[in-house]
């Protein structure tokens, strides 16, 4: 089961309405957002989003003039208890894998952490060896 997830990264100018336009287009086409984060500088931002149909979403946004790229991330499940994230990150750093960025949300008994590691294949390998649970791509894309 593939555990590498295609994330969409969208270049957005800091202009009123650009984010609204992205979400409007996706919503209208029945594409569901699972997780996203915004990273911003003074004049532009990058919206990173995991959604139900990355390829279709990419085509749709490009056809509306957006600049979009697909990149690989993993989604890690960790119990929503103190110290669990630290354990997972320790495994990565012990294997010399760095994290470019990550975003997460915890609720109920599980936390979900989207990670963009420096080496995605090794990241998947070491996390799985350590019996940590990774989301399957199929879980993320279709609802």
């Amino acid at each position: 089961m593939p555990t590498i997830i295609k994330q969409l990264s969208i270049f957005l100018e800091n202009k009123t309405g650009r984010l609204t336009e992205v979400t409007r287009l996706l919503g209208k086409s029945g594409i569901n957002l699972t997780a996203f984060s915004m990273s911003e500088s003074s004049d532009f931002g990058i919206m990173r989003v995991v959604l139900s149909d990355p390829e279709t979403a990419q085509k749709l946004l490009i056809s509306h003039g957006f600049t979009v790229t697909l990149c690989d991330v993993v989604c890690l499940f960790v119990p929503n208890t103190p110290g669990t994230l630290s354990e997972a990150l320790l495994i990565l750093s012990e294997h010399n894998i760095s994290v470019d960025y990550m975003y997460a949300f915890a609720m109920d008994d599980m936390a979900r952490v989207v990670i963009r590691p420096s080496d995605i294949n090794r990241c998947v390998e070491v996390l799985q060896k350590s019996n940590l649970k990774l989301a399957k791509a199929s879980d993320m894309y279709y609802f």
């Binding site: 994330q7 990264s9 100018e13 500088s41 004049d43 532009f44 003039g65 600049t67 979009v68 960025y101």
Partner: protein, 434 residues
């Protein structure tokens, strides 16, 4: 291919003789038939007797754009209106337009120099020309039109604009040659890319002028349209497009020296610069009848290249226009030419050749913002590399121009495209001028 070998490849000494003779004739002509030039020459205490060779050119008075405006509409014509068969006018962005009048012979000179241009780009009667310069008062459309007809090509006088139709005819008629402004060529190239029809086109060659463009822009146009792109130079005041043209070497534009005499001057001292140095191009027409111009200051910055060209033509070449002495912005006391910024941006593969400069004044200090589009295929998800790109561009501008610019990366296609001359500068400081 060479259209008129006897003139285009004439020995330098022989060319000089031709020029001497034609200059003398022109000076006689304006002295006797143009009250404007007679008065100017009398002011300097010279008569046609003082002009024997082209070395005497420096004795003659300059002509500047305001002279042409002051003489609006026909004051600079040196023949009676009955001799004038065509009128053109430049797009006067401020005040009155500049009017040019052509006699029948002037029109034939014009189509001659354009025939040289098109032949030099490898075109012949077997080509289909899509003329997407504006037709009308602007010299681009009709100028290119008659030049293309002169070599016997088939001409599509589609004029500028209506991109959908341009692409439809380009595909259906199998146009092999495109003539338009370089910014419109780029715009058409993008449209062709969008439609994914590059393979369906028969375009081979393009002639682009009426605004300055860079080498990197050439690479871009050539790639997008799969053509060889040639620069062509000219101005309404002198004749229109066709003053000079590129050959296959694409290294400088050959000046039609048997019709137009070039000089390069320092725009501040008005003295000639040393051979090969950059300065303002000054042109004297030596065959025109309707509206000859003497030492016309073009405001275009370039340099002359005297080295022999591999194409076999012996005429002097002028470098691609490096800027306009008019367009020069003075920002925080430093002279900045928009083309300098353009060249910097072109060095970076990650940005598209679309940019806009904003100059303003805040708290008595000039602000300088450069907006440039990122290229979709070079966008990366990595914030730090995007920020780094911005930083590298700023550093490069600082080192080339000598001042700091705030670079802003903007979304592709967010900068307005133009079908005519591109407006790339917004100087808000002008609002405060009287």
């Amino acid at each position: 291919m060479i259209w008129n070998e006897s003139y285009e490849c004439m020995g330098r000494e022989e060319m000089r003789e031709v020029q001497n003779k034609r200059l003398r004739t022109t000076v006689e002509h304006v002295y006797h038939n143009s009250p404007f030039y007679r008065a100017k020459m009398q002011e300097l205490g010279i008569t046609p007797m003082d002009i024997e060779t082209i070395d005497d050119l420096v004795k003659l008075p300059f002509t500047i754009k305001t002279d042409l405006r002051d003489q609006y509409p026909f004051g600079l014509f040196s023949v009676p209106m009955s001799e004038i068969v065509r009128l053109h006018a430049s797009s006067g962005t401020t005040g009155k337009p500049i009017v040019a009048g052509y006699t029948r012979k002037d029109l034939s000179t014009w189509s001659e120099v354009l025939a040289r241009t098109f032949t030099s780009g490898g075109c012949s009667r077997n080509d289909i020309f899509q003329i997407a310069y504006g037709y009308g008062l602007f010299t681009g459309g009709l100028g290119a039109h008659y030049g293309a007809e002169n070599i016997g090509a088939s001409v599509i006088p589609i004029s500028a604009g209506n991109t959908e139709k341009q692409i439809q005819l380009m595909t259906d008629f199998g146009s092999t040659v495109l003539c338009c402004t370089p910014s419109y060529a780029l715009y058409l190239g993008e449209a062709v890319e969008d439609k994914g029809i590059k393979d369906k086109l028969k375009l081979r060659v393009g002639f682009f002028g009426a605004e300055p463009w860079t080498e990197a822009m050439r690479v871009e146009i050539e790639k997008k349209l799969n053509i060889k792109a040639f620069d062509i130079f000219g101005l309404t005041e002198v004749i229109g497009p066709g003053v000079s043209y590129e050959c296959y070497a694409q290294n400088g534009m050959h000046i039609n020296e048997d019709h137009f005499l070039p000089e390069i001057i320092n725009p501040v001292t008005l003295e000639p610069v040393a051979p090969g140095e950059v300065g303002e191009l000054v042109l004297t027409t030596i065959t025109k009848e309707g509206m000859p111009v003497i030492r016309y200051r073009t405001k275009d910055l370039t340099r002359l290249m005297y080295e022999p060209c591999p194409c076999g033509r012996t005429s002097v070449r002028m470098h691609k226009i490096m800027g306009r002495s008019d367009d020069m912005l003075i920002i925080r006391g430093v002279n900045v030419f928009p083309t300098q910024i353009e060249s910097v941006l072109m060095e970076f593969g990650e940005t598209a050749p679309h940019y806009h400069l904003y100059v303003d004044r805040e708290n008595n200090t000039d602000t300088f913002d450069v907006h440039v589009e990122v290229r979709p295929e070079n966008f990366t998800d990595d914030m730090s590399s995007m920020l780094n790109l911005r930083k590298r561009i700023e550093a490069r501008i600082q080192s080339v121009v000598g001042i700091h610019a705030n670079v802003k990366l903007v979304e592709p296609r967010s900068i307005e495209r133009s079908i005519g001359k591109a407006q790339r500068v917004t100087d808000k400081r002008n609002l405060y001028k009287e």
